[in-house]
């Protein structure tokens, strides 16, 4: 991928939908432009490393970090709900859901 990818307003709209952020229609082009510029600057990452170079997902070589299956104190419901914008019946009240569960 050596040429700068083109990002359209529609692309931004799709990404915004995936990311659940309402971007007004008149701002989509603005973000699209900036994304293009940034991607142009960072696209060179795909040229550098060969297939033989492994990816690093964790800076330190730790493995097998576990904890014992022992119960620890939880928050109280009051603490858990303390920041909630809307509460009903000791539960978090949320607006109506359209999507079925995954």
């Amino acid at each position: 991928m050596s040429e700068t990818p083109k990002i359209s307003a529609d692309d931004v709209a799709h990404l915004a939908s995936l990311a659940r952020i309402d971007i007004p229609a008149d701002r989509l082009g603005y973000y699209a432009e900036q994304l293009e510029v940034i991607l142009g600057a960072v696209a060179k990452v795909s040229e550098v490393a060969g297939d033989d170079v492994p990816a690093t997902s964790h800076p330190q070589p730790l493995t097998n970090v576990f904890r014992e299956d022992i119960v620890q104190p939880s928050l109280t419901a009051q603490q858990a709900l303390s920041g909630a914008p809307s509460v009903e019946d000791e539960r978090f009240r949320v607006p109506r859901i359209l999507d079925e569960e995954q």
Binding site: H58, F66, D69, I70, Q72
Partner: protein, 510 residues
């Protein structure tokens, strides 16, 4: 979203004639660990809402996960029991999507590096040619966390459609889940629904034997999603599949798959295409309905979970866990069948009656296998059926059976009396010994009492005594019968007979 209109279904035999079904089964197992997958919150069922949550499982800003070692053990043991390879090195991954029951709006799961993969489960199913073993190939078993529970308010049905809002309880968020995914199940043909049911049944037994989960489909600790597709023939490419959720029992699995096969067949036969979608099974109306279409498929943007470090189970640890596995059910069945010298049909009856574990326990408690089988498959199965309960629900234990057998062996009671004793135990009157004493069921062993009864019987039928003396020993039966009757069966018939002959001065063996 109407659920009342039943779609057209093709006759099942015709479906099989014209199409080859392929299935994929995804089973989610809730592990019965004390604490959650990534935090120390308790996992017990039924706690008041949002009292078993902490910054980690509530997804509060700044919180970090730490893996529950017992959950890893459970995952590895399940993988081993399913004949899987255990990964040398694997990671967790984030599955990113937004949903109110997921506090972080991503699920910590595993993507392309499951902890267990490439396994199989051999499932016996009943076919026209008798019992055949069907091998279900397992793609993978991986670890993930459960979501919170949403309760939809304001609608008529309590389901999402038509609800005004929802309320969420995060007590279940973070409970450890193992997802077991099969490879495409091909070649089952008309037995596809039965294979699916038998697979889940067997998987459930396996998990129960491992002790890793309550595996209650009715409580959600075992959940099954069924994928079904049809193709014109076994060498055609795979068709478009649908995924059916909300199959909460073994029966539902079988019925839902059968239904989907019949429904899809009609669509395909008419030249239509199957929409790739998630469907919902309705137990009350026996049909699936369409959920949201998956054509706008979510892009989960998987990437390795940076807050958790890789899992690299040492091979020695894996072998130690392998040693904790119980005997696989098929191996156990074969071993016991051989030890008891019974045929397939009888073994099937034992298993279908739910008697296998009880028989084994009774033998372990001291009975011989034939007696154990006799009681559990005979008298007790009859009683259980009459009462409409499971064998294991009866108020009698393997130890009780052994006690009954001991009483028989000691001559205190006989088979007929034993049934009365068992009835007494089932009625809650106490242990077999207590029932014998309370009801006075002991066999009369005192010779003089027996002789008195014998003399009484002879006196009542003098001509029979004469017949016996003259050599017709078969006639003794009537006297013995009379004595048994007068003693209410509490006599040892053989002993009565001996005493009778001795009394009459006749040689028994004549």
């Amino acid at each position: 979203m109407s659920t009342t209109i039943k779609p057209e279904l093709m006759d099942y035999d015709e479906v099989i004639e014209r199409f080859d079904p392929v299935m994929g089964l995804e089973v989610h197992v809730e592990l019965n660990t004390n604490s959650k997958m990534f935090c120390g919150c308790a996992t017990g069922f039924g706690a008041p809402a949002n009292t078993q949550v902490c910054p980690v499982c509530l997804g509060l800003p700044g919180a970090l996960p730490v893996v529950n070692k017992k959950a890893i053990e459970g995952a590895i043991r399940i993988g081993l029991a399913l004949n899987c390879e255990i990964a040398q090195w694997c990671r967790f991954a984030r599955k990113n999507y937004f949903y109110p029951d997921m506090p972080k709006n991503f699920q910590t799961s595993q993507y392309d590096e499951p902890i267990a993969f490439n396994g199989y489960l051999d499932v016996p199913i009943e076919t026209d040619e008798g019992i055949q073993i069907f091998r279900v190939d397992i793609e993978r078993a991986h670890m993930e966390e459960d979501t919170g529970k949403t309760s939809h308010q304001g609608g008529a049905t309590g389901r999402i459609h038509g609800a005004d809002y929802s309320i969420v309880d995060y007590n279940r968020a973070g409970i450890p889940l193992i997802e077991v995914v099969t490879k495409p199940i091909t070649g089952a043909g008309k037995y596809a629904p039965a294979v699916a049911r038998a697979y889940v049944n067997m998987l459930r037994d396996l998990l129960r034997a491992l002790g890793v989960s309550d595996v209650r489909m009715d409580q959600g600790s075992l959940r099954c999603d069924a994928n079904v597709s049809l193709r014109p023939s076994a060498d055609a490419p795979l068709g478009t599949r649908t995924e059916t959720k909300n199959v909460n029992s073994l029966r539902s699995i079988e019925k839902a798959i059968r239904f989907e096969m019949q429904r899809q067949a009609v669509v395909l036969a008419a030249g239509g295409t199957i929409t790739q979608e998630t469907r919902h099974w309705h137990e009350d109306t026996n049909l699936t309905t369409s959920g949201r279409s998956k054509s706008d498929a979510e892009d989960y943007r998987y990437f390795p979970e940076p807050d958790l470090v890789p899992i690299a189970p040492a091979r020695q640890w894996v072998e130690e866990l392998r040693a904790t596995l119980p005997e696989p059910p098929t191996v156990r069945r074969a071993r016991l069948q051989e030890a008891w010298g019974v045929n397939d049909t009888e073994m099937d009856s034992i298993i279908n009656a739910g008697a296998l574990d009880l028989v084994v326990a009774t033998i372990a408690a001291g009975a011989d296998d034939a007696s154990a089988r006799k009681w559990w498959l005979g008298e007790l199965s009859r009683t259980a059926n009459d009462q409409g309960v499971e064998l294991s629900d009866l108020a009698i234990s393997p130890a009780d059976i052994v006690a009954v057998e001991t009483l028989i062996a000691a001559g205190t009671i006989n088979d007929k009396l034993a049934r009365e004793v068992i009835a007494g135990v089932l009625a809650g009157e106490g242990s077999p010994d207590q029932v014998v004493a309370a009801r006075g069921l002991g066999i009369v062993s005192d010779d003089s009492s027996l002789l008195a009864a014998i003399e009484e019987a002879i006196a009542a039928a003098p001509d029979i005594a004469e017949k016996i003396r003259s050599g017709k020993v078969q006639a003794a039966g009537a006297i013995v019968g009379a004595v048994m009757k007068s003693t209410r069966g509490q006599a040892d018939a053989a002993k009565v007979r001996s005493l009778l002959f001795a009394h009459l001065g006749v040689d028994e063996s004549a």
